[in-house]
Structures are given as structure tokens and as C-alpha cells.
Symmetry: C2
Subunit: 164 residues, 2 copies
């Protein structure tokens, strides 16, 4: 699917209404724990309040009915040119149409333009995240590490990475 | 070397003067980049200002002439019971006397007492950190992951972990 064919406008500046939009998007997926959603919302709040000093950067995909998906990423402190993808969320109603891929590609373009050379993604090894892991692998990300029992007993962290 | 034989008092509450003491300790080692020292100091400042809400916990080893070493650790957000060791520093004049081990053991006791089940330590794969890596390995930490070029090209991140 080609980004140009999607009816989305990509936007990089978080706005006040994104705080609630991100909460709604994350809740719609059914994929996140409540405490995870709290953190996702906090990152938007910090960026709205402190701008670039927050360390968080965003790509919002605005569609016909508000924001349909977003990604949050940032430079990893104390590294030369490594970046982390903190969140990527597509609202349940708009999944499986290539928006996740377009968002991730937009993140990669922003990171490259800022001189970033590597993007890391932490995700869970739980069954529930299998489609997510396949998605990252299809976008060229490789498993760089598995940390057993990281999130909880039986719930490992998987670190994906891609050279940009 | 037995902790009881060391002339240190362990203290867990950061105080205002620790901000400068931590800067002096970190600088004395010759091991950290200036921007790393800035971050080490920031974590103490945040804990002095916001207490436990900062997410940073400490062990300070007060000796005959002020603070001789310290460690900074904390619960990893969104994990059940995983902790990170963020910093462990022994001032150059007091190295090679077992204080690092005592500090790390004190951290492990604090983490266990709080219900923590695993402690992670990120460190660099640079030659300069070889003694540091041997130290962690001697304390029972295992290499859980190597992320090539993480800190900079040719400077990998090594993640150590230990079940507590």
C-alpha cells in the first residue's frame, strides 16, 4: 500500500487535543494495560508542555475523523545516534490498511533526517504481541535481544533493531 | 572483604550535598563522559526534589571524608518486578577495597526487600569498561544481550542481568 493513497495528513507537532486522542486510540486496541496507557498519555502531555526538551517526538496521522494513529520516538540519551520507538498505535477501526507501516516509515525518515543511524523497538514476547512482532520483522527489524521475565515472570522483553 | 569491616555508613536518602558529591565522585574516576556526569547529577537532583516519585533510589557510602561511593537504581516502569542499576561509582581514591561490591550487595538487598526479582545493568562494551564488566560477572551477573553500535559506532551496549 502506498502512503500517497492513504487519506492521511502526517503531523509532527503534538497539540492539546492529542492527549485525549492518544488515550482513545490506545484504549481502542485492547492491547495495552491501563498503566501502559497512562504512560503513553504522559509522554504526549510532556511534549505538549515542554516541546523538544521532553525528548519525545511524534508522528500523528490525521484522517477524516481525527487522529487515526500515531507514533512516539526519541533520541536515546547518551548515545551518538540511536533512537527508540516508544509507541506506535493504530486505532482498532483503522488497522490492517497499511497505516502502521506508513507511520513507521515516517518515523524512520524523521530519524534519518536528524542523523539517526539505528532505531530500537522494545516489545513483549507475549502471544498477544505476535502480530506486532511480525509487523516489525516485515519492516526489516531484527531481534537483537530477548530478556526473559523482563516485564513479568513469563513475559520477556524483545528488543528489535534496524540500521537506518 | 566483609562489609562490616569497612569504615562506611550506608545511607539511602539523598541530601542536598550529594548533588556535588556525586559530581566529584564521577569526575574522579576518569571513566565518564561529561554528558554522562550531567545525567548522573540530574538523577540525584530529581530525587532530592521529588523523593520517591522520581523513581530513583540510592545507596550512599559515607566514609571518613564524605561520600566515597554511591549507587543509583530503580524499578523499571511497566514491569512487575524488574529493576535497573543506573549508576555505581566509587571515587578513584577508594577503589579496589571492596566498596563497589558492598554497594552492589546493598542495592540487591534493597531491591529484594521491595519485591524485586531481577536486576539489570547496562554497560558499554568499550575496552575501558573491561574491569567494570569483570566486576559484574564476579558478582553473578550474566550477559543477557549485546547491542552493537548502541552508544556509538563500535561502542556496543551490554546488558547484564541477575535473578535476585
Amino acid at each position: 500500500m502506498n502512503e500517497q493513497r492513504l487519506p492521511y495528513v502526517f503531523r509532527y507537532e503534538p497539540q492539546l487535543q492529542d492527549i485525549e486522542q492518544v488515550r482513545t486510540l490506545a484504549e481502542s486496541t485492547g492491547n495495552f494495560y491501563p498503566e501502559e496507557i497512562v504512560v503513553a498519555v504522559q509522554l504526549v502531555q510532556e511534549a505538549v508542555e515542554h516541546g523538544a526538551a521532553s525528548g519525545y517526538q511524534f508522528v500523528f496521522a490525521d484522517g477524516p475523523s481525527g487522529c487515526h494513529g500515531y507514533a512516539c520516538f526519541g533520541h536515546i540519551p547518551l548515545t551518538r545516534s540511536s533512537y527508540d520507538l516508544y509507541w506506535i498505535v493504530v486505532g482498532r477501526a483503522w488497522q490492517r490498511q497499511g497505516l502502521g507501516r506508513s507511520l513507521l516509515e515516517a518515523v524512520e525518515r524523521r530519524v534519518r533526517a536528524a542523523g539517526g543511524t539505528q532505531l530500537f523497538i522494545d516489545t513483549s514476547g507475549r502471544d498477544q504481541y505476535q502480530a506486532t512482532r511480525r509487523f516489525y520483522e516485515a519492516q526489516g527489524y531484527q531481534q537483537a535481544a530477548i530478556l526473559p521475565d523482563f516485564y513479568a515472570p513469563g513475559d520477556p522483553k524483545i528488543i528489535y533493531s534496524k540500521k537506518l
